[in-house]
């Protein structure tokens, strides 16, 4: 049976569905989940995580909309292979949204733009190399 490792932090102020989305995306980005991998059904994952099925459904719908996952009718849900289908502008916008939060945090904690750039580069390389290794 396909598995996904997701850890839910109940006391976090990040909503549960968002926590699951972030972790699945991370695993796809780092190559832990590879293109064409089958993911558990909504029922299976909900039961495994002890999370409401509607929450998992919401996660899968959102990830399908973003082309991270793909539903094959009557067969199951898979890690999508063609993220390029999303227009470049939209992909950039999605990244910008996440970076905005990082920028707010950096300003609040007094971390300079230079330092932020450095950190971003490091993270980017780290994930890229993790993905290459797993391929």
């Amino acid at each position: 049976m396909p598995t996904i490792f997701v850890r839910i932090e109940p006391s976090s102020s990040v909503p549960i569905y968002r926590q699951i989305i972030d972790q699945i995306k991370y695993q796809v980005a780092t190559g832990v989940l590879k293109e064409g991998d089958k993911v558990p059904s909504v029922r299976e994952l909900a039961s495994k995580l002890a999370v409401n099925q509607n929450t998992v459904l919401k996660v899968y719908n959102e990830l399908c909309r973003e082309n991270v996952l793909k539903i094959e009718r009557g067969d199951g849900t898979y890690v999508s292979s063609n993220r390029q289908n999303i227009p470049a502008a939209e992909r950039k916008k999605a990244v910008a949204n996440v970076l905005r939060e990082a920028a707010v945090q950096a300003i609040q904690l007094d971390v300079s733009l230079e330092q932020v750039k450095e950190l971003l580069e490091k993270e980017y390389e780290f994930i890229k190399s993790a993905k290459n290794k797993s391929e």
């Binding site: 549960i16 039961s47 999370v51 919401k58």
Partner: protein, 299 residues
């Protein structure tokens, strides 16, 4: 939205002169998992006992699947599976005996299903009830509540006293066995972090009334903490303040229905805007139950 499985209107109840429920209104949609939250002693168990016809209300009414438990408690018990808080079962019985015994009360008992459950819930049929661990005890109580294939399941603080692993396991069964089959689950708890992952809806009972009833997801999204840098003292223009605290020039307001539009308005009127913080369900619960409604800022 479809119909409501449980309907409660203006429900009042007092033990002697102490009013416990002071007019409870609540609707539980069919097929939902509904988390019923409240502090210890808020009246959760009393509400559940009224729903089952075990107590008689002083005023108001409730219905399950359209049936009034005051008039027809037997019909209610046929369609409802109930697991009491800290459920006591005869310790001298063996598991298989108690299953048989409870089965005899229900014409719709599904022995095939309960045999499967004994296996799945890892309950050794030959063991005596008094020898069971707390986890096994609650699993047995769940089995006994589900054996007659109820449409509605009422669980009164079902994970009380369980360790975190047993608790998660129990919730896993609730999702796997009940949500999958479209059963309506009404489930009380004072543990919010436990309710949030599983509940479609939550209602907060406090001081004898429901102070909030909403989709879990919407509640999470709609209550925010807004931190302002301002010397102003009057926040009466902001609607829905649940809690306010002030430290010198900094004011933290916990606000319900906190839309982007509302935040913009606050920005315009108070300036010195600092940030908007998301809250977890525990913090939201606290704001509703013990929030000062903005009085601390000195209106």
């Amino acid at each position: 939205m479809g119909k409501n499985t449980i309907e409660i209107e203006g429900l009042k109840f007092a033990y002697g002169r102490d009013g416990v429920l002071k007019g409870v209104d609540l609707q539980v949609p069919e097929g939902s998992i509904f988390g019923f939250l409240g502090r210890n002693g808020a009246g959760k168990t009393t509400t559940i006992k009224l729903l089952l016809g075990l107590l008689k209300p002083d005023d108001g009414f409730c219905r399950i699947e359209g049936i009034n438990p005051q008039k027809d408690a037997i019909s209610v018990r046929r369609i409802v599976g109930y697991m009491a808080e800290d459920q006591q079962m005869y310790g001298w019985m063996r598991i298989e005996q108690i299953v048989k015994w409870v089965a005899s009360f229900y014409p719709t008992w599904d022995s095939k299903f309960t045999n499967k459950l004994l296996d799945m819930l890892e309950l050794p049929g030959k063991n005596k009830v008094k020898t069971l661990s707390k986890g096994q005890n609650s699993r047995l109580a769940l089995l006994l509540a589900l054996g007659h294939r109820p449409k509605v399941v009422i669980l009164d603080d079902p994970t009380l006293g369980l360790d975190p692993i047993a608790r998660k396991e129990f919730l896993r069964y609730v999702i796997g066995l009940l949500q999958t089959n479209g059963v309506t689950v009404f489930f009380s708890s004072h543990l919010l972090y436990e309710i949030e992952p599983v509940a479609d809806y939550v209602a907060i009972l406090d001081n004898g009334v429901i102070i909030k009833s909403e989709r879990t997801f919407d509640l999470r999204e709609s209550v925010k903490k807004v931190v302002l840098n301002t010397s102003k003292n009057d926040f009466t223009k902001i609607e829905g303040i649940l809690d306010a605290s002030k430290m010198e020039e900094r004011v933290a307001l916990t606000i319900e229905n906190c839309s982007a539009e509302k935040i913009n308005k606050i920005k315009d009127s108070y300036g010195g805007f600092v940030r908007v913080i998301g809250l977890n369900l525990d913090e939201i619960f606290e704001a509703y139950v013990i929030g000062n409604r903005g009085e601390a800022t000195g209106v």
